[in-house]
């Protein structure tokens, strides 16, 4: 780093190294009624996901005779944040449903499941930033736990830029950082085997070259998360 590029954010609020993830715990089989389920906690962010299906898609006119349909329902529990959120569908949750479907669909072998629907329900129990990423991590585990044929794992993380510093797995406190260039939040999902990105969003202020650095940080972080997900699946057997 040249002198000019000196960042104001030299130490993380929770003392982690810049590329260090929060403590992760992952477990499958937490919802007995579901065909597959998982809980994924990334620091203080906790997501529960359950999978129902594949089942015959009703109404029938929405069936696809060539491949199955993956349907995601994301919701924050009203008490998961400091200021109560109104339960039910919001514009935010609709968008997260859509991007989560895009993040997961490439790995699910829907061509093996024509005429069916696979429902993925994600609920956030406790939120401290990165809920859509924790949700994707939990959902990928739940899909595997349900025995849905999958090509590989999907792992997700939120990369941040605090002033000029790239950090992995941002917290709410970091999301609200305002000094210097402020905070940029970049949630992404990555396929560790085929090395491709399936979710990419960004808001904040970031130079194109810095963004490329952030992409690489995300790639490395997702690889670590994939290992934890695989371990959780092995432990369930």
């Amino acid at each position: 780093m040249t002198k000019e590029e000196k960042s104001l954010y030299t130490k993380r609020f929770d003392g982690r190294k810049f590329e260090e993830l929060r403590e992760i715990s992952a477990k499958v089989g937490v919802v007995p009624n579901a065909d597959g389920s998982a809980i994924f906690a990334q620091g203080d962010t906790i997501a529960i996901a359950s999978v129902f299906g594949p089942k015959i898609f009703h109404p029938k006119n929405q069936q696809n005779p060539e491949k199955g349909v993956l349907r995601v329902h994301y919701g924050m529990l009203s008490f998961s944040v400091t200021e109560r959120v109104k339960p039910g569908i919001s514009r935010r949750s609709q968008e997260i449903n859509q991007v989560t479907e895009w993040a997961l669909t490439p790995v699910v072998m829907l061509e093996e499941l024509p005429g069916t629907v696979v429902d993925v329900h994600i609920n956030i129990l406790q939120a401290n930033a990165g809920t859509r990423c924790a949700g994707i991590n939990a959902a990928a585990l739940a899909l595997a736990h349900a025995g849905i044929p999958m090509r590989e794992m999907v792992s997700a993380v939120a990369i941040g830029k605090m002033d000029k510093t790239i950090v992995s797995d941002v917290t709410k406190e970091e999301e609200d950082y305002e000094d210097g260039e402020g905070a940029t939040d970049i949630p992404m999902a990555y396929l560790p085997n085929s090395e491709k990105v399936t979710l990419l969003q960004l808001d904040g202020k970031i130079q194109p070259e810095k963004f490329k650095e952030a992409l690489l940080a995300g790639k490395e972080a997702c690889k670590k998360i994939a290992e934890i997900q695989k371990k959780a699946l092995k432990e369930s057997e």
Binding site: R91, Q94, Q201, D203
Partner: protein, 286 residues
């Protein structure tokens, strides 16, 4: 929805570096701008890009601020995919497409710092100005995110505050002041979406091209005076196909180049609007 044969033709043309309308992959369609399309709006514009046509109106109101930003005004963005504009749009609950377009446009404007929300505060914790950015399609031929986002910033640039009665604390709708919105004009954000089909990337799709694309990446870019390079303010990947890191990097580089072209066009249009504004005032006096 797009026919498989159409998609095949589009892909084959792209593989040869051309398109069904003979544009190059990174060529945009001609853009036309018409300001002041609704006299009753605080600011309004219609932007045409090829056959795609989007109207944007700015309306202002007074409301209570959010509890976590008590000294800041608010903003809301909506996109109506009117059935008037396409046989593919229907009445009823806003579709996920319309929600996504509105939210992506909203993020770019918000994160760029284009609007100075602190200057929209009337009384801290009690009353602030709300800016409503309402977009509507008049004809759909693809690329609604980019065209909509362009219409939104142009409408904001020409918007004026309505009269505000301090005694009754209400807005006198239909009576306008000469006061412009508090904008940081150097941070004006512009939106470029790059699409992927096969191994090709392209911009400004027609509806058929957009529906044939496997994935897209929207980037909202600005060039603040304080920065040496462009800044990315928002991003959104859309579509099911995964993207390789190298593909994303290429998209970022190309989008930055297109941003520069688009910026020149916006400056020219605004300059024209300013001249027209002066002329019409002069006409009135005479």
């Amino acid at each position: 929805m797009v026919y498989k044969l159409t998609r095949k033709n589009i892909l084959e043309a792209m593989n040869k570096g051309t398109r069904l309308d003979l544009r190059g992959p990174l060529d945009q369609r001609p853009i036309e701008v018409r300001f002041g399309v609704s006299k009753n709006a605080e600011g309004s514009v219609i932007v045409k890009c090829g056959k795609t046509e989007v109207a944007c109106g700015i309306k202002m109101g007074v409301s209570t601020p959010y509890t976590d930003h008590e000294a800041e005004g608010t903003m809301m963005t909506a996109m109506e995919l009117l059935p008037l504009a396409s046989a593919n749009f229907e009445y009823g609950q806003p579709s996920i497409e319309s929600v996504e377009i509105a939210r992506v446009i909203d993020r770019g404007i918000r994160e760029s710092g284009f609007i100075d929300f602190k200057k929209l505060c009337i009384k801290e914790g009690e009353k602030v100005w709300s800016v409503y950015i309402d977009l509507a399609t008049l004809n759909d031929d693809g690329n609604l995110i980019d065209v909509g986002a362009l219409a939104a910033v142009l409408a904001l640039m020409t918007a004026r505050f309505p009269e505000y009665d301090e005694k009754t604390e209400t807005v006198k709708f239909g009576e306008f002041t000469d006061k412009k919105l508090p904008l940081n004009e150097d941070k004006l954000p512009l939106t470029v979406t790059m699409f992927k089909i096969g191994n090709n990337i392209f911009v400004d799709p027609t509806r058929e091209e957009e529906d044939s694309a496997e994935a897209r990446l929207t980037m909202e870019i600005s060039k603040p005076e304080s920065q040496k390079t462009e800044m990315i303010n928002a991003m959104q990947k859309g579509g099911e196909a995964p993207l390789a890191v190298e593909e994303i990097e290429k998209m970022v580089d190309e989008a930055t180049k297109i941003f520069k072209k688009l910026k020149t066009l916006v400056d020219e249009e605004l300059e024209k609007a300013r001249k027209g504004d002066k002329k019409s005032k002069k006409d009135k006096k005479e």
